[in-house]
């Protein structure tokens, strides 16, 4: 999978993933729009460039692991996974529906390729620590990496800071965390609900290697992940500055879109906006 797409193909793929997200959420009638759209570039980069994995063999023993602590934006992951070949695109329409493998939040028992069950915030990084510790010290598999995505609002959870300390204590350099710094959470802007700044200084003082990037620049995302893999003495966090709702102007920067899905009219409008950003995509992606 790694390195197969060019940069412009990756950008194109991120746009397709955004369209999938809108279609899925409209069909589901509920779900988290803003964060899903905002992280489309990161998840595209992960599934189509950064991670070592085999969509036709999800339990491949040498695969990298992705723990999605911010499980509420799982639509972006389902879309990226479907596009990568993990399951049929048609299955995306089953999101949040009775009997679906695509639960509202990731569930490993129902869909083992999700690696873990997540969504209740503040638990993903701890699980990633357990995985990374096992890979580094017990099973000794230095070629495998544990990627974690976290929301910024979820850093309110004290349990994250327990995990941040543990990762630094054990020099879990094989953890690479992406924090979706989109500055919103359900009740408003993060700095109003519970200020996180100076976020960089917080992570640095806890012993992590910190990078800050534009979360919509796929080249930056790939480069930052490569840099993180080169840091072998401490865990790495990449603070990815994103625009919530990215690609749909009436959703961008608006915290009201954190936890809701578009209706039919809004979805139609949103798909048009996404497509119009890039003249290369014509017609319906289906």
């Amino acid at each position: 999978m790694s390195g197969q797409l060019t940069l412009s193909q990756l950008e194109h793929m991120a746009m397709i993933v955004r369209q999938d997200i809108i279609s899925m959420l409209e069909e589901a009638g509920s779900g988290h729009s803003a964060g899903s759209l905002g992280m489309a570039d990161v998840f595209t980069a992960l599934y189509f460039n950064i991670m070592q994995h085999q969509p036709d063999d999800p339990s491949w023993s040498d695969r990298d692991i992705l723990v999605q602590s911010n499980g509420h934006i799982v639509p972006v992951r389902y879309a990226a996974m479907a596009r990568a070949g993990y399951f049929p695109l048609t299955e995306l329409k089953t999101l949040r529906k009775l009997g679906s493998r695509l639960q509202g939040h990731p569930e490993r028992v129902i869909l083992p390729m999700m690696e873990t069950t997540s969504g209740p915030l503040g638990e993903g990084l701890g699980q990633a620590c357990g995985m990374a510790y096992t890979l580094k010290y017990i099973d000794k598999q230095p070629h495998r990496w544990v990627y974690v995505t976290l929301g910024d609002g979820e850093l309110d959870e004290g349990s994250n800071w327990e995990a941040i300390m543990l990762a630094a204590k054990y020099d879990l350099h094989n953890i690479i965390a992406f924090v979706d710094r989109n500055n919103i959470q359900i009740d408003g802007n993060t700095e109003d609900v519970m200020p996180l700044e100076d976020l960089r200084a917080k992570w640095e003082s806890f012993g992590w290697h910190v990078q800050e990037i534009d979360g919509h620049n796929i080249e930056s995302i790939i480069d930052a992940a490569a840099m993180a893999r080169a840091i072998t003495e401490k865990p790495s966090v990449i603070i990815t500055h994103t625009i919530p709702g990215k690609g749909v102007d009436f959703m961008e920067y608006d915290f009201h879109w954190h936890g809701v899905s578009p209706n039919k009219e809004q979805a139609k409008d949103a798909l048009k906006k996404i497509r119009s950003m890039d003249g290369r995509i014509e017609g319906d992606h289906e």
């Binding site: 723990v67 569930e107 490993r108 028992v109 690696e115 873990t116 069950t117 997540s118 969504g119 209740p120 503040g122 638990e123 993903g124 990084l125 701890g126 699980q127 990633a128 620590c129 357990g130 995985m131 990374a132 510790y133 096992t134 890979l135 010290y137 017990i138 099973d139 004290g158 349990s159 327990e162 995990a163 300390m165 543990l166 204590k169 054990y170």
Partner: protein, 330 residues
């Protein structure tokens, strides 16, 4: 059914006393020798929970997480996701007390082999007082789907239970007592996850205990026998899944049931038995234990005495109950 063997010293003052948690410590080392997938984690209470024995034997398979019980469980779940069987230990007040949601999501729903070890459970936290006396752990763990809940009755049974839980490799909670209590079972006494055991035959009333209260029930039965009342005693080391078959078959013969636990009766063993009887064989029931109250500082045996859970108190409560309550007839 395998015969439940009691120690020859059962009713002697010379009976060996040992904290139940010591059985966990010994069993875990054995489990670690038998299976290299076994790992252990602790939240700054390594010696108290007896995990230090495992840590000394297998330092590379031990993770010290600090005073961070939520992360304790998340990390354990992550290790389990990579193929390990993880024992995650702290005081019961904090694990499962503080870590319950992590247990629910990352262990039970996620179906990972994490065994939650809660030491100093119940009144056994003793002098530490009510803050540290975890009385609600049975209630909050047995409510969880996909969860095995085990309360060993002495250190020997704790060792057997630890080995059995390691072998089972499924989400579980093991509740351990801090203070030394009588070792009244033997190496030959059977233990199987999910089984209840009839430890004394009797036809007038059934006493059902779990953990340290089984021994107290046996003491009560002995005293009751002196007054001509023959009590059947059942040990329930596995509260979830409950061995309904053995329990229902047994209580059918006596028609009256008294449950005894050093935990909240609402949600605890008392509830589990009340639900079973209510659904399958309604009959008079008395639940002894903590009835919507907190403990206080004192030794385990002072507290058992204060809350009416020693042999003589149980015997008194049973006599009163039998006098008032007609026997169930089918």
């Amino acid at each position: 059914m395998a015969h439940f063997v009691l120690s020859d010293d059962m009713y002697k003052d010379t009976i060996q006393m040992e904290p139940i948690r010591k059985g966990l410590g010994k069993g875990l080392v054995k489990a670690g020798q038998e299976d290299e997938r076994i790992v252990a984690l602790c939240a700054d209470l390594t010696e108290s929970t007896q995990i230090h024995l495992f840590k000394e034997a297998f330092p590379e398979r031990f993770v010290q997480v600090g005073i961070a019980e939520q992360n304790l469980i998340s990390v354990a779940s992550g290790m389990a996701a990579m193929g390990k069987i993880a024992f995650a230990s702290s005081f019961a007040a904090f694990n499962p007390g503080r870590s319950w949601e992590q247990i629910r999501t990352t262990v039970c729903l996620n179906d990972q082999p994490v065994i939650v070890v809660g030491s100093h459970a119940g009144l056994s936290a003793g002098a530490d007082g009510a803050t540290h006396q975890m009385l609600e752990d049975i209630a909050i763990t047995r409510a969880l789907p996909n969860m095995t809940v085990v309360v060993p009755t002495d250190s020997l049974e704790a060792e057997k239970a630890t080995l059995a839980l390691a072998k089972q490799g499924k989400p579980a909670y093991i509740r351990l007592c801090r203070e030394a209590t009588p070792v009244y079972t033997t190496p030959d006494t059977p233990f199987e996850i999910g089984k209840a055991y009839i430890v004394r035959e009797g036809h007038d009333v059934t006493l059902i205990g779990t953990g340290v209260t089984v021994y107290e029930c046996l003491q009560a039965a002995r005293e009751l026998a002196e007054g001509g009342l023959e009590a059947q005693v059942i040990s329930v080391p596995t509260i979830s899944p409950l061995d309904r078959e053995t329990i229902i078959d047994a209580v059918r013969k006596t028609g009256r049931v008294v449950t005894v636990e050093e935990a909240q009766i609402n949600g605890g063993l008392g509830s589990a038995i009340a639900e079973t009887l209510g659904e399958e064989l309604p009959m008079p029931l008395l639940r002894l234990g903590m009835n919507g109250q907190f403990g206080e500082s004192g030794t385990l045996y002072q507290l058992l005495d204060k809350f009416g859970l020693t042999g003589p108190h149980i015997a008194g409560s049973v006599r009163e109950f039998v006098r008032k309550m007609p026997r169930y007839h089918q």
